[in-house]
């Protein structure tokens, strides 16, 4: 589904990604781990199409189609979803109306009419229940005054509503207590099926107890330096990253 081929990327002329290749198939969960500043969030941003990041070399394809020249919204229409590490606060736009607009804009791009109001309400209720989101929460301004946990839960709620092909969860576990983590992980697991894929970016193995990856990749200094199974995450938890550095030398 997702093919990343030898991707180099920079921001403000600083090279961040230095030749990353990654292949993700439908039905798979991939975890990306690595120390701070290794390029994990940059990788997420470059897949989602953030303009400040410049892809200097390489290609990203979704189902064989090159998306490197597409705008962020066009990538979303192709089924890419990024759960933000720091979701943006937007006063004046309620959660409900934001998600309604997003769904209908995605439908418009596919040549479909707006989703009927009753169907929309039903879907909102169903997905809010899945993530144990209070209805009152939905009429609040997007992310304004939300706790860290509420913000992340809201991200996964949006994912549930938009049903992306490829979801990238950028440090979704940061700022979550264990109960909230379980709710969020449970939501992701329920949304997971054989036709979609998830990339989980995290510092800690903890989240991977709940969202179990098929593959674990370690990024250091803009490159994937090691790939393995879930076992690799345990090793990292236990030994840190230094042993990989040493291995590389």
């Amino acid at each position: 589904m997702l093919q990343i081929k030898d991707v180099y990327a920079s921001v403000e002329e600083k090279d961040i990604l230095k030749g990353i290749s990654l292949s993700v198939n439908a039905g798979e969960v991939h975890a990306i781990m690595g120390p701070n500043g290794a390029g994990k969030s940059t990788l997420a941003s470059i897949i989602a199409g953030k303009e400040e990041f410049e892809l200097t070399k390489g290609h990203i394809t979704i189902d064989g189609e090159d998306i490197t020249e597409l705008d962020a919204e066009e990538r979303a229409h192709k089924g890419v979803f990024l759960s933000f590490q720091y979701p943006v606060e937007i006063p004046g736009v309620s959660v409900t109306n934001f998600i309604k607009t997003a769904i209908n804009e995605n439908r418009k791009a596919k040549g479909l009419k707006d989703m009927p109001a009753s169907e929309m309400l039903k879907k909102i209720k169903e997905k809010a229940d899945l993530l144990e989101i209070d209805r009152k929460f939905l009429s609040r301004s997007l992310n304004v005054g939300f706790s860290g946990g509420e913000k992340k839960r809201n991200e996964i709620f949006q994912m549930a509503m938009l049903e992306p092909k490829l979801a990238i969860l950028d440090e979704t576990d940061s700022g979550l207590d264990i109960d909230a983590l379980k709710v969020v992980a449970n939501g992701v697991n329920k949304l997971k099926n054989k036709d979609n894929a998830v990339i989980v970016i995290t510092h800690y193995q903890r989240l991977l107890d709940y969202i179990v990856p098929d593959f674990v990749h370690v990024i250091m200094d803009g490159k994937i330096v090691k790939s393995g199974t879930k076992q690799l995450a345990y090793e990292l938890e236990e030994k840190g990253y230094d042993w990989i550095k040493e291995e590389l030398v």
Binding site: E73, G92, A102
Partner: protein, 437 residues
């Protein structure tokens, strides 16, 4: 002959038609003299530093446009609030259109300034109120000198206007350049309530200069909601001066929506004469091209325990320029006051300009006065967030602009009007979004 000279000679002709014994005679002459002395304001004056009338004054304006112009309802239907029933006071090139209007004398008076000025039964009212709230600025004086038509509204004690009142001034643009000077007088007596929507609308691209003056008097516990919709064509300019006097416990809100026109200057003056008044001044400005909108507000606090709230939002694209000059003046005796002023601006393009100048003059020592002014750009992080959810660039921009203005929009009390304004914004930005945020 320049415009000032033309106005002077027109005034002589105009005055000839008026009754010499009318008490207004002196008022007009005095006002005209003031205009003759001071002329049109120039950028040398502090209050006009950022707004120049110079280019406008070179046009050959017709002072008394031909008044046999008719228009069909279907051609102007879109400018009315059609979804609900309203009273309507409609003028075509300054002349009352009975065909398009729906006026009343039943319980409340929604009728014409010309009647109020000319009929003897109104003479004591005119003597008490006419030109009593207006200031002596040159352009206000010019309007006073030429005042002959506009809306006259009087809501008697304890009465409520059952439907909103629309005051609409159409300019047909039959002539290459037209000058209009509507004059409105609104008296809201004790505990009376009214909602008014005002609009100036040109029907083609010819030059129009409107110098409009409105006086609003609120007696004890009166309540007025006034909405100004400024979405005129590209050669239409408006100088709108509104003077409001509030007696104790009255509440007056004025919303100004400035979405179009060549040059728009809003002089909005509030005077709080009695205790526990509340004045609300809200505005949304969204302009582009070379449009210019200048908000010049003054809240004059004279009595104790009063409040005033100002919230002006501006979005400026292309080479548009905006001015916000908001003054709060607190007299020594106006203690226990709560005055708040907020002015937030977004510059979409590098060429857009906003000149913001909040002024607080406080002579009382036990008051709460605050103001905040910001100038920024659309938040790029927020843009990426919206776009990453599949909302296209233009729609994402529209959503952020709309959200930015939402604090003002949500305070519009007539739902159909709010819907109309939402639609104007959506059309303006060229998106088809519901905006039911």
């Amino acid at each position: 002959m320049n415009l000032k000279e033309k106005l002077q000679s027109s005034y002589l002709a105009f005055e000839d038609h008026l009754q010499a014994d009318s008490p207004l005679h002196d008022v007009r002459n005095k006002a005209m003299k003031n205009f003759e002395t001071n002329g049109f304001p120039s950028k040398k004056e502090e209050a006009w530093k950022y707004t120049s009338l110079k280019a406008l004054l070179n046009k050959e304006f017709s002072i008394f446009p031909k008044n046999d112009n008719t228009i069909e309802f279907k051609d102007v239907k879109e400018y009315f609030l059609n979804d609900i029933d309203t009273y309507k006071v409609v003028f075509i090139d300054g002349v009352y259109s009975s065909f398009l209007s729906q006026i009343t004398h039943d319980v409340i008076d929604v009728c014409l300034m010309s009647s109020a000025l000319n009929k003897s039964k109104y003479s004591s009212i005119i003597e008490t109120y006419f030109n009593k709230a207006a200031n002596s600025e040159s352009l206000t004086c010019l309007n006073t000198a030429f005042a002959k038509e506009g809306a006259y509204i009087r809501i008697a004690k304890h009465k409520e206007a059952q439907k909103p009142i629309e005051i609409i001034n159409f300019a047909t643009g039959t002539e290459a350049a037209t000058m209009l000077q509507p004059r409105n007088l609104i008296i809201v007596e004790e505990n009376a309530h009214v909602q008014i929507i005002e609009r100036h609308q040109s029907l083609n691209q010819n030059e129009v200069l409107t110098n409009s003056v409105t006086e609003i008097f609120l007696e004890k516990r009166a309540n007025v909601d006034y909405y100004k919709i400024q979405n005129d064509t590209q050669n239409a300019s408006l100088i709108d001066s509104t003077f409001i006097q509030q007696q104790r416990e009255s509440i007056c809100s004025v919303h100004t929506f400035s979405f179009g026109g060549k040059l728009t200057r809003n002089n909005l003056n509030f005077k709080q004469l009695g205790e526990r008044c509340d004045s609300i001044l809200n505005g949304v400005t969204m302009i582009e091209d070379k449009q210019h909108v200048d908000h010049n507000t003054l809240v004059h606090h004279i009595a104790e325990n009063c409040e005033s709230h100002q919230d002006y939002k501006g979005v400026f694209d292309d080479s548009a320029t905006g001015v916000f000059n908001g003054k709060v003046y607190v007299e020594k005796q106006a203690q226990k006051l709560d005055a708040f002023q907020k002015n937030n601006n977004i510059l979409i393009s590098n060429k857009a300009t906003i000149n913001a100048k909040p002024q607080l003059e406080i002579f009382a020592d036990d008051v709460k006065c605050s103001h905040g002014c910001t100038i920024g750009q659309l938040d790029q992080e927020a843009m990426f967030y919206l776009r990453s959810r599949g909302i296209a660039n233009k729609e994402a921009r529209a959503l952020l602009m709309y959200a930015f203005a939402n604090t003002v929009l949500e305070s519009v009390k007539i739902p159909e009007l709010k819907g109309r304004i939402n639609k104007l914004i959506a059309n303006k930005i060229g998106v088809n979004l519901g905006f039911d945020l």
